[in-house]
């Protein structure tokens, strides 16, 4: 017998929450972005768990697409970061002070 779904779902919620809080408290854009990856992974874990429990392939297919989106997002996100930091030295997001708020 395998581990029940609620354990996996709890773990996924923990990972999601850690990622979300990390995104808010960290100032380094790269780390903020890693926190987004954590959140996406939490969602993937939930998808795979539901797919197993429901005996349904859709959950695994969804993870497949989330992975593609994550890859595309990473490329563009890191592109933006590189474009900005080529002009500026210093890596934290709180350097953004030209725009208020």
């Amino acid at each position: 017998m395998s581990v029940p779904a609620s354990f996996y779902l709890t773990l996924s919620a923990v990972l999601f929450t850690i990622g979300a809080i990390g995104l808010l408290v960290r100032r380094n854009v790269l780390v903020m972005f890693m926190c987004v990856e954590l959140m996406l992974n939490a969602a993937n874990l939930a998808f795979v768990t539901f797919a197993r429990e429901l005996n349904d392939v859709a959950g695994q297919a969804a993870v497949f697409f989330v992975l593609v989106v994550a890859a595309a997002e990473v490329v563009v996100g890191l592109g933006i970061i590189v474009a900005i930091f080529r002009r500026r030295v210093g890596a934290t997001a709180d350097d953004i002070h030209v725009l208020k708020g």
Binding site: S2, A13, I18, V31, L38, N41, R52, F64, G90
Partner: protein, 272 residues
């Protein structure tokens, strides 16, 4: 608490399964905490790999072998390496103080989010989930086929359209990377006047670096101005970029200093 948790695990699962889950879960959570709490972005990236690996183990445990492989190959192998590459490229692997946070509003938001997250954890831990209909898109187990075959069949039948339109997504990623990585024509060093020098048809209005000691920086930016008029040699542009960086970090005003460098007049003056 922990005893009850372990007891619950062992009551419902076989020992190897329970043990695998426990170890992978601990690895994942420790890695996730490491991502958030590491001061150094490089450590964060390595901790992220740890989490991804833990999740991959859980994928195997949940009969998603293909996704586990992709998780390791794409995520750990490509995405995190890209992160590390960018960290190294930018040289931003400096430590950051987590304790000193000048944004209290965001802190409160994080606390609120933490409470919501906790509620979610409790919700997911206590209920009998999932509640949905079974096997809507097609069976995952008991088909006599490998995980890859089942998933592939699904991707090329029920999920054909999503699969095809991911190609648009990848094209966008490529165009985006090209657009962002390319220097603006003739003025890769043209920095906004509010934070640094602005190159404007041969005349440079520098926002920082008023002292004589930073004259070299001004000269570097001057070569950028020359470059924007004519052709830019790689050395020039690199030098100018450094100069621009110095100017930005220097960031102090100002006074009016007129310098001649490479036939380009450099006006440094107060920007208000």
């Amino acid at each position: 608490m922990h005893g009850a948790l372990a007891g619950g695990l062992l009551a419902t699962a076989t020992v190897p399964d329970a043990l695998t889950f426990a170890v992978a879960a601990i690895i994942s959570v420790v890695g996730a905490l490491g991502v958030v709490l590491s001061r150094n972005p490089v450590h964060s990236a390595l901790m992220l790999i740890m989490t991804l690996f833990g999740v991959a183990v859980l994928f195997v445990e949940e009969d998603a072998q293909f996704l586990a492989a992709v998780q390791v190959i794409v995520y750990a192998g490509a995405i995190v390496v890209l992160f590390l590459f960018v960290i190294m490229l930018l040289g931003v692997d400096r430590n950051e103080s987590i304790a000193a946070e000048p944004m209290p509003a965001q802190r409160w938001l994080a606390v609120a989010l933490g409470v919501l997250g906790l509620a979610e954890v409790i919700l997911l831990a206590r209920g009998k989930w999932p509640t949905g209909a079974h096997t809507v898109a097609g069976p995952l187990h008991g088909t006599g086929q490998a995980n890859v075959a089942v998933l592939g069949r699904s991707v090329f039948t029920s999920y054909l359209l999503p699969f095809e339109i991911t190609s648009a997504l990848l094209v966008i990623a490529v165009i985006g990377a090209v657009v962002l990585a390319r220097r603006p024509r003739g003025s890769g060093e043209d920095v906004d006047p509010s934070i640094g020098p602005r190159v404007d048809s041969g005349e440079i209005v520098a926002g920082g670096g008023g002292s004589a000691g930073r004259g070299g920086a001004g000269a570097g930016a001057g070569s950028a101005g020359a470059g924007s008029a004519g052709a830019v040699s790689p050395e020039q542009s690199i030098q100018a970029e450094r100069a621009a960086g110095e100017l930005v970090t220097a960031g102090e005003p100002f006074g009016a200093v007129l310098k001649e460098a490479e036939g380009v007049s450099i006006v440094q003056r107060r920007e208000s």
